[in-house]
Amino acid sequence: MQLKSLTLRGFKSFAERTILRFEPGVTAIVGPNGSGKSNISDAVMWVLGEQSARTLRSGSMEDVIFAGSAARPALGMAEVSLTLSNTDGTLPIEFSEVTITRRLYRSGESDYYINNSPCRLLDIQELLSDSGLGKGLYSIIGQGRLEEILSSKPEERRILLEEAA
């Protein structure tokens, strides 16, 4: 399974529709402080089902919707889509390419899609459950969060191991 692309629209500082296409190997994300690099990482966590606003540095989930700037008004919706190639059949679904989409409106309503078919968050979680992209997302180390592995409780480290089992 490979990442093909990530599309952000109205997610945090990405007010305009923005597409990252992924190559194999190592991709470096660079830029000045506050430009939006960590927001990209937040977008991936969010579209894969992250439910804790705090993990996304937010006070409430609504904080992930573009809040406006000095020059632009706030938007009413945030949307992130992640497209994965599934030619090796890692995901238990009959598509060689799978796009997961998550949308949040200011009303608090959420929409979820797998390949443009509406679904529930639970369907996305089940789809990903065996792929290494599911709950826990141990494969994403957020900024300033590396040391948490050392200061966390022994039980929390056990959970990390069990998810890798």
Partner: protein, 158 residues
């Protein structure tokens, strides 16, 4: 199931010791069960001793040493259960030049089978990348991207 946890624990422990030795030449480390008499509920503790030093609690380690121990633990798990991709956000910020080089060697180990997104301000980390995304924000408070394959770009200012 206890047996499964014990198997995973031993595999990750083995991997952790290997990665640790590559990051801390002459050093040694291991994972231990916080409650060996209660495997069903036991947590996992980390013991780490950099080369030449005495074994002490993790909190006494330096900032860079703590980063390396945490990276060794994470990469040990990655080797046991690879993920299709990893996102590492400024994880090498506390490392000196020599340890940065060791971190880069770790990245080389997992890049063959997985995609890795690394957010970084460090030139040497950028030089390892196959492709580069530049993120910028202008006065309108909106983030935008510039994509560049590494062959087309000179790494000027971060």
């Amino acid at each position: 199931m206890n047996a499964k946890f014990v198997d995973t624990f031993e595999l990750v422990n083995e991997g952790f010791q290997k990665v640790f030795e590559s990051l801390f030449p002459g050093g040694q480390a291991e994972l231990i069960l916080s409650e060996p008499d209660d495997i069903a509920n036991s947590g996992v503790d980390i013991i780490a001793q950099p080369g030449g030093k005495k074994l002490q609690r993790l909190s006494l380690l330096s900032g860079g040493e703590k980063s390396l121990v945490a990276l060794a633990f994470s990469f040990a798990i990655y080797q046991i259960k690879p993920s299709p991709f990893y996102i590492l956000d400024e994880v090498e910020a506390a490392l000196d030049d020599i340890n940065l080089q060791r971190f880069i060697s770790l990245v080389h180990k997992i890049r063959r089978d997985s995609q890795i997104l690394i957010v970084t301000h460090q030139r040497r980390t950028m030089e390892v990348a196959d492709s580069l995304y530049g993120v910028s924000m202008q006065a309108d408070g909106v983030s935008r991207l510039i994509s560049q394959k590494f062959s087309e770009v000179t790494v000027g200012t971060a």
